[in-house]
């Protein structure tokens, strides 16, 4: 999808904040992901046009960073840390349990991530970049279900805050 009118205005505002337009690649990719739930090839072409870059340049940057998803992943991205502090506190077991629990669920994408800087609550995870922890399989599943039911308002797939009640 191309940017909506409001998002296009926001994109232009963002570009204007930088001395050189190319600096807006990352924020514009976040904005596209906020809107579409992933970064579409169309979005990358549009960003390239806006910033006077080639689509390949935008893809080159986009594909370097783990937060940008270049395929649809559903509504919730669950990022489970398995780096050493979480490792010794049950992170890998948590990851395994959530992966099998949500293997067939198109709305929930469970991924292994590197240290989230929340080691005082290990094992830690994020749901759409909201921090939670310490958790084990049962409490993590309950948490994810709360997001799915709408008892909690998730951020976007890029972690941008959504006003309560407006979640798509």
């Amino acid at each position: 999808m191309p940017y909506t009118e409001a998002n296009l205005a926001q994109a232009r505002e963002t570009i204007a904040r930088y001395p050189f337009a190319k600096s807006a690649v990352l924020p514009l990719l976040h904005l596209a992901q906020d809107q579409d739930g992933w970064v579409t090839p169309e979005a990358m072409r549009e960003i390239a046009d806006l910033l006077d870059l080639s689509p390949a340049q935008v893809l080159g940057t986009c594909s370097f960073y783990t937060m940008y998803k270049r395929a649809p992943i559903g509504k919730l991205v669950v990022s489970v840390c398995t780096n050493v502090t979480c490792l010794v506190n049950g992170g890998p077991e948590l990851l395994g349990a959530l992966r099998s629990r949500y293997a067939a669920d198109d709305d929930v994408f469970v991924e292994e991530v590197e240290c989230l800087a929340a080691c005082d609550r290990a094992p830690a995870l994020q749901v759409n970049y909201e921090f939670h922890g310490p958790l084990e399989a049962a409490s993590a599943t309950e948490l994810i279900e709360e997001y799915k039911r709408g008892d909690r308002t998730p951020r976007t797939i890029s972690g941008t805050r959504v006003a309560a009640g407006k979640a798509s």
Partner: protein, 439 residues
């Protein structure tokens, strides 16, 4: 006497934990008073004050902050200030806390520093995953602008400063100062060859200063206390306080701000409650994944950057102290850390890109019962191609520090657990001809 924290940078967020990030709570507890004081000073006098304080970078390298600022070439404008909030060093979680819970302290430090170095634009490069931190900073920037602590003609001083909050998108190496600048320019965060150093040619090829969140959060306190007074805290060239993120097998994991010079024992056993469940410590990592490991015999060593590097051949790095109990498999920890480095290697330099993956593969088989007798030496041989000599301060065949960091877990294994690892694997097989020994 029980060890205690010395709360300077964490004072506000500990004293008013329910509202420390709001402008009202911040101003009530003295935020922006140092800014008024600084704006009445000459910019160069601020740099001198920070030099006098001995403040060293809190991100990992420990370079003198005031010294860094004074490297800016005279009369070359525009200049930029970049705030490194891309905290990603495994088990470091201090900047995360400072951004979420005391954004105004950071903003005050940014404005003072930008005034000192005469930069009119500052970029806060915030780790993409810190979503709440981004919300809080955005609100804080909005409120600070409304109160004219940021913006045109700050508090009537004639100084203009715009602060741009820039979210990262998931990448460890954007925390390297040159990687950060590449990322901020819309590129892959691949580090640049130095020289030219950022102070001479950095962001958009203009003179640029990159400082860590904790470093800048400390600046208002140096202005308030005076550099000389601040320098009375600490030990030797490690002045002041630092926030240590203690995690792993401890009773009370968390961030502790202590005066430098305190012992590891007081930090780990006194403040963090020691190894949990009454177990013995097997080893600890003193300064993030990139620092070589230490063991119980080092617990009485001081938290002093020079001592840890010079005497213990490790480093205080980012201040992340990871503690592992007697039941921990050190090979598994080494494997997981090497997996981190293999994942985060940006791919620019061949020794790091290839070496990190090979080291991860060999450690994986060692951790999973498939180790071969020569594996430990094989790892050292790989490592010698990345860090010739395997000694700190690192010689390196890579552009940035990630390369040498890959070897820290292997050096730790070899120094402290060689017998254990070899006993597990068995001692027969073809030896690797070594060109290097671990110092």
């Amino acid at each position: 006497m029980a060890p205690v924290e010395t709360r300077i940078v964490t004072k506000r967020l500990r004293e008013v934990p329910e509202s420390s990030w709001t402008i009202d709570a911040a101003v009530q507890s003295g935020a922006y008073e140092s800014l008024r004081k600084a704006l009445a000073m000459e910019p160069d006098a601020i740099i001198e004050e920070v030099k006098t304080s001995g403040l060293r970078g809190r991100g990992g390298a420990g370079f003198g902050a005031g010294q860094k600022w004074s490297f800016l070439p005279k009369g070359v404008f525009p200049r930029y200030l970049c705030v490194n909030g891309d905290e990603g060093e495994p088990s470091t979680f201090k900047d995360h806390m400072l951004v979420e819970r005391d954004p105004h302290q950071l903003i005050e430090g940014i404005v003072i520093t930008a005034f000192a170095i005469q930069a009119n634009i500052a970029f806060i490069y915030l780790r993409g995953e810190f979503a709440l931190g981004a919300d809080r900073l955005e609100q804080a920037l909005h409120d600070a602008s409304a109160a004219n602590y940021v913006g045109k003609n700050v508090l009537g001083s004639g100084f203009d400063l715009e602060i741009v909050l820039h979210r990262g998108a998931g990448c460890y190496i954007a925390g390297d100062e040159t990687g950060l600048m590449e990322s901020l320019e819309g590129e892959r965060a691949m580090p640049r060859i130095k020289p030219p150093f950022p102070a001479v040619q950095g962001l958009y090829a203009a003179p640029t200063i990159v400082n860590n969140v904790e470093t800048l959060s400390t600046v208002p306190h140096i202005i308030r206390m005076g550099g000389e007074e601040y320098a009375k805290l600490g030990v030797g060239r490690s002045t002041g306080t630092r926030i240590f993120s203690v995690s792993g097998h401890v009773e009370r994991p968390g961030n502790y701000e202590v005066e430098l010079g305190m012992s590891f024992r007081d930090l780990i056993e006194g403040l963090a409650g020691g190894v949990r469940g009454g177990k013995e410590m097997k080893f600890f990592i003193p300064g993030g994944a990139s620092s070589p490991w230490l063991v119980a015999q080092h617990l009485d060593a001081p938290l002093d950057m020079d001592h840890v590097q010079g005497e213990l051949k490790s480093m205080l790095g980012s201040g992340a102290v990871m503690v592992f109990d007697e039941d921990t498999d050190p090979v598994q920890i080494a494997w997981r850390l090497s997996k981190f480095f293999a994942h985060e290697s940006c791919g620019k330099c061949t020794p790091c890109r290839e070496g990190s993956s090979w080291i991860e593969k060999v450690l994986y088989r060692m951790a999973n019962g498939l180790g071969r007798p020569a594996d430990l030496d094989l790892l050292l041989d790989f490592g010698n191609n990345i860090v010739p000599g395997l000694n700190a301060p690192f010689a390196q065949t890579t552009i940035c520090g990630l390369g040498p960091s890959i070897m820290s877990p292997v050096v730790g294994l070899t120094r402290w657990f060689r017998d254990e690892v070899e006993a597990r694997i068995g001692a027969t097989g073809e030896p690797v001809e070594l060109k290097v020994t671990v110092p």
